[in-house]
């Protein structure tokens, strides 16, 4: 049973058409992303796939059965497009992982590897719905920072602060519960380019929406330090977008296509310490950006610091 809460929505957006079925999987975004990926592929140095074999523990290779724990310490922030919320400081970011023969754990994600060879891996994963962190300060994903539109809230509860409309009309803003998505994940390495494609469905019976996550990463510089460029997108079905960003009776968005680009630099300083910096820019789809509770159409995340490998 969902607890309905009410919030006042800004009157300047009250005239928006209801039941708007805008699908932001637009040709424009698709072409933009494809062009960027082609550019990325052209810039990539040819790296031998033979580097993939795991002969010793490394950042790419895990010891089966051993927990790995590390923490990023530094300075950074993530912009918050939610109305009335301030940007999010990033200072301490923990990371925990465990790999068994088939199962694995990466922070809050659990997975099972069904197939694996040098180039391709097929996993089945269970992962939290990231959008909830937008509304709840105490969500675990606000501790274990993840990708996509994981917007970290600085507010205290589930309410979203919005302007009081002149008309005084009230609209319900439902609670956003913890959700989990599950589905297959295909990842690959091809000439140094790493790809990932997830097709996920919500399995905790909250909104039964779908999400597709895809990205490519390519090393631009690979010496002792490495500079890696990534690009990708998150596609959220209408059910997900409505669950998080819709307002019953006022705003009912369609699906959303959020492309992103990322640049990451890392430089190992010692066995345990690594210098790390990244910048991530995500363009929010109109279906999200037009929500009355959203004030910006993008999310930027920057961070620079060191990673300390605890074990």
């Amino acid at each position: 049973m969902r607890n309905a809460r009410s919030a006042r929505i800004g009157c300047d957006r009250a005239f928006w058409p209801l039941a708007k079925e805008r699908d932001d999987f637009t040709v424009h975004h698709t072409l933009l992303t494809a062009a960027f990926l082609c550019l990325l592929a052209a810039l990539v140095p040819r790296v031998s796939a033979a580097e993939d074999s795991c002969s010793s523990p490394s950042p790419e290779c895990a010891v089966v059965g051993r927990f790995e724990l590390s923490v990023s310490l530094g300075a950074g922030q993530r912009s918050n497009p939610v109305q009335g919320r301030s940007d999010i400081p990033l200072v301490v970011i923990p990371h925990i992982s465990w790999y068994g023969k088939r199962f694995f754990l990466e922070n809050l994600e659990l997975g099972f590897t069904a197939f694996e060879n040098e180039q391709n891996t097929l996993n089945f994963i269970v992962t939290p719905g990231y959008d909830r962190v937008f509304f709840y300060r105490n969500d675990l994903q606000n501790i274990f920072i993840a990708g996509g539109s994981a917007l970290t809230s600085t507010g205290g509860g589930g309410y979203v602060a919005v302007d009081v409309p002149a008309s005084g009309r009230e609209f319900e803003v439902r609670d956003r519960h913890t959700t989990f998505l599950a589905g297959p994940e295909w990842s690959f390495d091809y000439r140094g380019i790493t790809g990932q494609l997830n097709a996920l469905r919500e399995v905790t019976n909250e909104h039964e929406g779908y999400e597709v996550r895809a990205a490519l990463a390519a090393p631009l510089i690979q010496s002792k330090g490495s500079l890696v460029a990534s690009a990708g997108f998150t596609w959220k079905s209408r059910e997900i977008v409505r669950y998080y960003y819709g307002v019953d009776g006022l705003y009912e968005p369609g699906s959303a296509f959020n492309p992103f680009v990322k640049l990451r630099y890392s430089h190992p300083l010692s066995e345990r310490w690594t210098l790390n910096a990244f910048a991530h820019y995500e363009q929010l789809a109109n279906a999200i950006a037009d929500s009355p509770i959203i004030t910006e159409d993008h999310v930027t995340t920057v961070f620079a610091g060191v990673v300390f490998k605890i074990r």
Partner: protein, 154 residues
Amino acid sequence: MLRLYLQASFSRFADAASKAGCVALALLLSFVSSNSVVAAASGKSGEGIKLELSPRVCTLSADDENCDTVVTAQWSAPKDESLCLLIVGQPQIRQCWENHTEGVYTVRLTFDRDLLVELRDLQLQKVLASEAIAVIKEALRLRRKRRQPWDILS
């Protein structure tokens, strides 16, 4: 007749004496020889020293990076010896004995590779005995980590 008898008796006596002399000489040589061997053996320092370590082997599991254990070294010798116990790679450890026939040394150590324990003379020049504690690492099974270009930290 008497002359013949005396000659024959003398001849037998001479033979017997000759044989006895040979036996005696052989015994004497044998005695001298064995005594010289004993003398030589007892004259060389460090021979016959036995060194035993406990544990003999340290097995590391996948989660262990080092052996952290109490090592006991016990030595014995057939005669008084003056020597020092050293551990290769652990220069802080040196235990010496003067004119002892046995000794025991116990220390807690952390090591990640074979530990070589040596008994040397007091000048640390000559190795009198050595033993090693073998470090056996459980075969690490590795697998490739998940590729996550979508993840913000990867």
